[in-house]
Homo-oligomer: 145 residues x 2
Amino acid sequence: MMSEKSYTVGRLAADTGIKAVTIRYYEKIGLLPKASRSESGYRLYSEADYSRLLFIRRSRGLGFSLDDIRELLSLADRQQDSCAGVDAKVEQQLEQVRSRLKDLRAMEQELERLSACCDGGAIMDCRIVETLSGEAAHNRRAKCS
Amino acid sequence: MMSEKSYTVGRLAADTGIKAVTIRYYEKIGLLPKASRSESGYRLYSEADYSRLLFIRRSRGLGFSLDDIRELLSLADRQQDSCAGVDAKVEQQLEQVRSRLKDLRAMEQELERLSACCDGGAIMDCRIVETLSGEAAHNRRAKCS
DNA sequence: ACTAAGGGTTATAGTAACTATAAGGTCAAT
DNA sequence: ATTGACCTTATAGTTACTATAACCCTTAGT
């Protein structure tokens, strides 16, 4: 007797913080099911779609790829199965994040070192340029920390 | 009287650790100058090309984009100019890296928290799935640290 | 001289996760 | 009726490569 409330794509976008274009894109790649349509052809979304989108958004926030999320969603859909698969994916993602952290920390250190190297002279005397050019650490005591 | 030694693309690749395809790609997008050619059409590279490639590789290692590197190279080429531009770019990159670090650290924390949540039951009881589904922190004392 | 392996050459398409653009249809309000 | 804000589609661009195909060159071995 009462129809469920439905969202247009723009409404869903506003409510979830995911842009309308992106929502359509998710539909196109099959991450979201095809939305039902109004008479005039507008997409109409249900509460279930809304939840699914939130799931996607949270997962993206944790750095999962869309392919990972596709898997997560299908794992999460099998309510009575073990959650070992989900747990494994979280673990895997954690490792990946840590590995990227390691790389970035190394970059940060090196950039800090370089940054401390510059004393504002000309390019030809610039330690930064020297370092980037590959004349690795030889005598950088003089001007660098 | 003596011609400089020159590298083929594969040799340069082996020496710099940048793949031959990538070297050709760098030439195509103008990051490397057009290489001279042997009679049969093979690319021939000089020491200068070698240095330039090393510069690119080190900069990539610091997370600079190819566009940034293009700028860095052109800055570095003006030997008598001030190195302020280079310094600024390093500073900028440092900021970017730090911002990405911040994001990743947040992801790491949240993933750690999630990972600790799983007690190996069924999906329908899984705290991870619950959390991802957006039912934010309500009563997670029970099973989560 | 012939051949096969291991170089090199080009052009084109695919990757991830969108973003931008164009060209148009719909809806609510004035 | 017209404006403005929404919706629709399709296509191309982004980053930094990687993969593929189809072909040419060089060199070592028989």
